[in-house]
Amino acid sequence: MLALLRGEPRYGFDLVRELSAADGLLTSEGTIYPLLSRLRKDGLVTTSWQASDAGPPRRYYALTPDGRSALERFVTDWRRFRDGVDLVLGLTGQGSAGCPPTDERSR
């Protein structure tokens, strides 16, 4: 979620649409909103209302500096985890460009 907000502020339905496009990332679209609420409470995102061409104003979510730091930590942890799994599966040295996505590799 934080990664989706890395570039620019986005609104809830926009985030859901992008997550839904990736297979397996999202099972219940409605649970995104509680997650966004918790991220806001934790100070990782901020919100602002912006007018919409298609209807009522939308609540936009944007990363805070804390959110950016949390995202950077996750990326570091994820790389370490991925490299560890690749090592165990014997996939190191093949180059990440030619490898299938991580979830397919782990099956």
């Binding site: 979620m1 990664a3 809830g12 339905f13 859901v16 997550l19 839904s20 397996g24 990332l25 999202l26 099972t27 219940s28 679209e29 409605g30 649970t31 995104i32 909103y33 509680p34 997650l35 609420s37 918790r38 298609a54 209807g55 009522p56 939308r58 609540r59 996750f74 942890d77 985890f81 991925r82 799994v85 996505p101 991580t102 979830d103 782990s106």
Partner: protein, 236 residues
């Protein structure tokens, strides 16, 4: 013709959501319902009157219970026993059981670190979620049972446990910790001194247990059997 929020399927979902969210703080409940209404408004904008398509939009949201339960979830980045190998940053799952055999009374276990739905990495194994194993709480040594004439505030009586290395040993939750609850109230108020030998007092708790107070050790020992042997060992 675009479908509105007054479509029966949508209206039913929103009513169920409001009912499920009754336990949330009023502000957050209104906010959550508004967010879902806004989401439905956007999602239904491209749907004509086809009821199957409307149902599909609503079903993609998940059940109202799951959505509300996600409000109370505590994110855990890495959960023991669960692998993020499936590489999914967001996935919701439901807890299927309590944290340990005595979830409410086991004081040796912290609250389960896997409560309710989580926004965590998807589990790599199929099936319902399992809670993470219990973790021991920091070890607190037993305290000696106070003399019968000592005033023990009621709120502190539960602190006096029957001293036993087993019950105070840190480690995974194996047994419900035994608590003596302090002396029975009536006897704590008016201790029954049966004998007052040199350096000893004796008190009977209930119909079975007799405790002997040893001034030298500043501790109570149960009379007979293991208590006497324990006292003898300490004396030597």
């Amino acid at each position: 013709m675009p479908v509105g929020l007054d479509h029966p399927v949508v209206a039913t979902f929103l009513a169920r959501l409001e009912a499920a969210a009754a336990g949330l703080p009023p502000g957050r409940r209104a906010e959550l319902v508004a967010e879902l209404r806004e989401h439905l408004g956007e999602a239904l904008a491209g749907v004509d009157g086809d009821e199957a398509a409307v149902r599909q939009v609503v079903e993609r949201l998940g059940s109202p219970d799951d959505i509300v339960a996600a409000e109370e979830a505590v994110p855990v980045p890495v959960v023991p026993g669960w692998s993020p190998a499936a590489a999914v940053p967001v996935r919701w799952s439901r807890r299927s059981g309590p944290c340990c055999r005595w979830p409410s009374s086991c004081s040796r276990c912290r609250p389960c670190s896997w409560p309710a739905p989580q926004a965590v990495l998807r589990a790599s194994r199929p099936g319902p979620c399992r809670p993470s194993p219990c973790r021991p709480i920091p070890h607190r040594p037993c305290r000696p049972i106070p003399p019968p004439d000592a005033h023990v505030p009621r709120s502190e009586r539960h602190e006096f446990r029957r001293c036993s290395p087993r019950t105070s040993r840190p480690g995974p939750c194996r047994a419900r910790p035994r608590r003596c609850g302090g002396l029975p109230r009536a006897q704590a108020a008016a201790p029954q001194r049966l004998t007052a030998q040199a350096g000893r007092s004796e008190v009977t708790i209930g119909s079975k247990t007799r405790l002997l107070w040893c001034e030298r050790h500043q501790s109570w020992f149960s009379s007979g059997g293991a208590g006497d042997r324990q006292h003898s060992r300490r004396r030597s």
